[in-house]
C-alpha cells in the first residue's frame, strides 16, 4: 500500500483524496512567502530593469544606497529611533505590567485595557492627532517626538509579553524574599526580574522592530533631518520604482528576521 492510500485523518480519508488540499495549502504558502523573498535576488541585479532571475549580478544598488546621504541619514534615524524606543518602552511597559499584575485592584484591569488601546485605535487617527499636538509643543520632526510616539505603540506589546511571563511566575517567591527581610523593590530586582529576563529581551526586540517598521506616524512627524527609512521608502514607492529600494528592502528583511529570531529565541528560553 503506497503512502497515498494510507489514512490521513481520523475519519479514514486517504492522502490521495487529500491531494487537492495539500496543493491548495502549498499554493497559499507560496503566495505568502515567495513575493517577499523575490526582493533579495532583485537587489543584486545589474540591470536598471526588472528581470527575474537577473541576467547579470552586481552590487550597484547597494553602492547607490550607501552613497546616498539622504538614505544614510534615514537609516541612522531609524536605528536611533528603534534603539531609543526600546530603551523607553521596555522599562515603562515592564513597570506597568508588573504594577498592574501585582496590585490586584479593580482599577488595574481598566488601566490594562486602556494601555492596550494603541493596538486598536486606527494609526492614521493617532498620527494626525500626534502631529497636531506636536506642532503646538514643537516636537514635529524631532527624534524625541518619534521616540515618544513609537514607544506608545510598542507599550502594549511589551505589556503583553511581560504580562504573560509574570502569569507563569510564582509570586510566592517574592513573598519568601520579603519574609526574609527584602523590600518589595529588592525582591523584584533580585528574585522576579532575573527570572523574566528572557521575556524582557524579547519585549525589547519587539519594541525596536515596532519603531523600525512604523510608517504612518513617521510620515506625519518625522520630516526634515529626522526622516526615517520607512518614510523615505514610502515616498520613493509613490514616485517610481527605483531598484535601490530592493537593496534597502533586503537590508530590512535581514534586520527584522534577525531581531525576530532573537526575540523568539529569548521568548521561549526558560531557566
Amino acid at each position: 500500500m503506497s503512502w497515498l492510500d494510507r489514512a490521513a485523518s481520523d475519519t479514514q480519508v486517504t492522502h490521495r483524496q487529500r491531494l487537492w488540499l495539500y496543493a491548495l495549502a502549498a499554493l497559499v504558502l507560496a503566495f505568502l512567502a515567495l513575493p517577499t523573498l523575490i526582493v533579495i535576488p532583485m537587489s543584486f541585479s545589474g540591470s536598471q530593469y526588472l528581470e527575474f532571475p537577473p541576467r547579470e549580478w552586481s552590487l550597484r544598488w547597494y553602492r547607490n544606497y550607501l552613497g546616498s546621504s539622504s538614505w544614510m541619514q534615514a537609516t541612522a534615524t531609524s536605528f536611533q529611533a528603534g534603539a531609543l524606543t526600546m530603551l523607553v518602552a521596555t522599562p515603562l511597559g515592564t513597570l506597568a505590567a508588573y504594577g498592574l499584575f501585582a496590585s490586584h485592584l479593580r482599577a488595574a484591569r481598566w488601566l490594562h485595557t486602556l494601555m492596550l488601546t494603541p493596538i486598536i485605535v486606527p494609526v492614521i487617527l493617532v498620527a494626525i492627532g500626534v502631529f497636531y499636538v506636536y506642532v503646538k509643543i514643537r516636537l514635529v520632526n524631532s527624534l524625541a517626538g518619534i521616540v515618544l510616539a513609537h514607544s506608545m505603540l510598542a507599550l502594549p506589546l511589551v505589556m503583553l509579553v511581560v504580562g504573560s511571563a509574570l502569569k507563569s511566575f510564582d509570586m510566592n517567591q517574592e513573598m519568601v524574599a520579603r519574609s526574609l527581610g527584602a523590600s518589595r523593590a529588592r525582591a523584584f530586582w533580585t528574585v522576579t526580574l532575573p527570572q523574566i529576563r528572557f521575556s524582557l529581551v524579547s519585549a525589547a526586540l519587539l519594541s525596536f522592530l515596532t519603531s523600525f517598521d512604523e510608517v504612518i506616524l513617521a510620515l506625519f512627524i518625522a520630516g526634515g533631518n529626522n526622516s526615517t527609512l520607512t518614510r523615505n521608502m514610502f515616498n520613493a514607492l509613490r514616485d517610481q520604482i527605483d531598484p535601490t529600494i530592493a537593496a534597502i528592502s533586503t537590508l530590512m528583511i535581514v534586520v527584522t528576521t534577525l531581531g525576530l529570531l532573537l526575540a523568539q529565541f529569548y521568548g521561549r528560553k526558560r531557566d
Binding site: 481520523d10 504558502l29 503566495f31 513597570l95 496590585s103 492627532g129 497636531y132 499636538v133
Partner: protein
C-alpha cells in the same frame, strides 16, 4: 482572616497603600499613553465639533452626509474590507485545516512561511508586489512570455492590486487564531463520529466545522477591523485610485489642511472600529481578539 487581631486595621491599611503604590508603577506608561494618544485623539474629537469660528457645530459631520466623495470613501472602505476578509477566509481556512492535520514538526516548518511575511516590513512587501504586478512587472512578463495573455494586465494601481496586497498582509491574522482553535478540537470526537457511521465529509461538516467556528470568527473579526484602518497598501498599490477612510483623512490634512473634516472622519472610523470590537468582545474574550494579532 476572620480572626481579627489588634493590628487588623493597620495591616489592611498597609496592604491598601501597597496596592496603590504598585498601581503607581504604571504611572509613567500611563502618562505616555495619555500624552501621545488620549490627548491627541481627544483633541481631534473636540476639533470635529468646532466650526472655523470655534463655535460648536456639526458641519463636519453634515458634510460627510452631503458630499458624495465621503460616501464613496465609505463604500470603498467597506467593499475592500469585505472582499479582503472573504478572500482571507477562502484561502486561510483550507491552509489552517491542512496545517492542523500535519504533525507538529511539519506544521512548524510551514508556519515559517506564514510568519515570514507577518513580520517583514509592510513597505518591503508592498514593494515586492509592485515589482511583481506592474505593467512591465514579472507576472505580466511571464504571462505574455508564456503566451497566456497578449496585453499587459492592469494588476496594480487599482482595486486588484490593493486586494492582493491586503490579503497578503491579513492572511496570517486569520490563519493563526484559526489554527489554534483547530488544534484544540478533540480528535476523538471525529473518531466517534466516524465510528457512528458518519462519512468523512459529514464528520467534518457536523463536528469539525462547528467546533472551528469560534476561531474563525475571532480571525474574521480581527481581519475586518484591521482592514478598516488600512492606509499604506491602498495608497501605494491602489495608486491613488482606491481611497479608503485613512487615505481620505490624510488627504484632508495634506491637501486641504482641513482639520475639522479629517477629525470628524477619524472619529467615525474610531467609533466604527470600537463598535465592532465591542461586538467582538460580546462574542469572544478581548485577549483572544487582541492576542491573535501578536502571536
Amino acid at each position: 482572616m476572620h480572626d481579627d487581631g489588634p493590628n487588623a486595621a493597620g495591616l489592611k491599611r498597609d496592604e491598601r497603600r501597597e496596592r496603590l503604590a504598585l498601581l503607581g508603577l504604571s504611572a509613567p506608561a500611563l502618562l505616555l499613553v495619555f500624552v501621545t494618544m488620549v490627548l491627541p485623539v481627544g483633541w481631534l474629537f473636540a476639533l470635529s465639533f468646532l466650526a472655523d469660528d470655534a463655535t460648536f457645530s456639526l458641519e463636519h459631520y453634515r458634510r460627510m452626509l452631503e458630499q458624495p466623495s465621503y460616501g464613496r470613501t465609505f463604500v470603498t472602505t467597506f467593499k475592500v474590507s469585505v472582499f479582503t476578509t472573504a478572500l482571507c477566509i477562502g484561502l486561510g481556512y483550507p491552509l489552517a485545516y491542512a496545517l492542523s492535520q500535519m504533525s507538529r514538526r511539519a506544521a512548524g516548518l510551514c508556519l515559517i512561511a506564514v510568519l515570514l511575511p507577518f513580520w517583514t516590513s509592510l513597505l518591503v512587501r508592498t514593494y515586492a508586489w509592485l515589482v511583481l504586478l506592474q505593467r512591465k512587472g514579472l507576472i505580466n512578463e511571464w504571462g505574455i512570455g508564456l503566451g497566456w495573455w497578449d496585453e499587459p494586465l492592469a494588476l496594480v494601481h487599482n482595486l486588484t492590486g490593493t486586494l492582493i496586497g491586503m490579503v497578503h498582509i491579513m492572511l496570517p491574522f486569520l490563519v493563526l487564531p484559526l489554527l489554534a482553535a483547530m488544534r484544540s478540537i478533540d480528535a476523538d470526537l471525529l473518531k466517534a463520529a466516524a465510528n457512528l457511521g458518519a462519512s468523512p465529509a459529514r464528520a467534518f461538516r457536523t463536528v469539525f466545522l462547528p467546533l472551528s467556528l469560534p476561531g474563525l470568527l475571532a480571525g474574521t473579526l480581527i481581519v475586518f477591523i484591521l482592514c478598516l484602518g488600512f492606509y499604506v497598501t491602498p495608497a501605494v498599490l491602489g495608486g491613488g485610485k482606491v481611497i479608503m477612510v485613512s487615505n481620505h483623512i490624510a488627504n484632508d490634512i495634506e491637501l486641504f489642511f482641513n482639520w475639522g473634516a479629517a477629525s470628524a472622519l477619524g472619529v467615525v472610523l474610531l467609533v466604527l472600529t470600537l463598535a465592532l470590537l465591542w461586538a467582538a468582545t460580546r462574542l469572544l474574550r478581548l485577549e483572544q481578539v487582541l492576542g491573535g494579532s501578536h502571536r
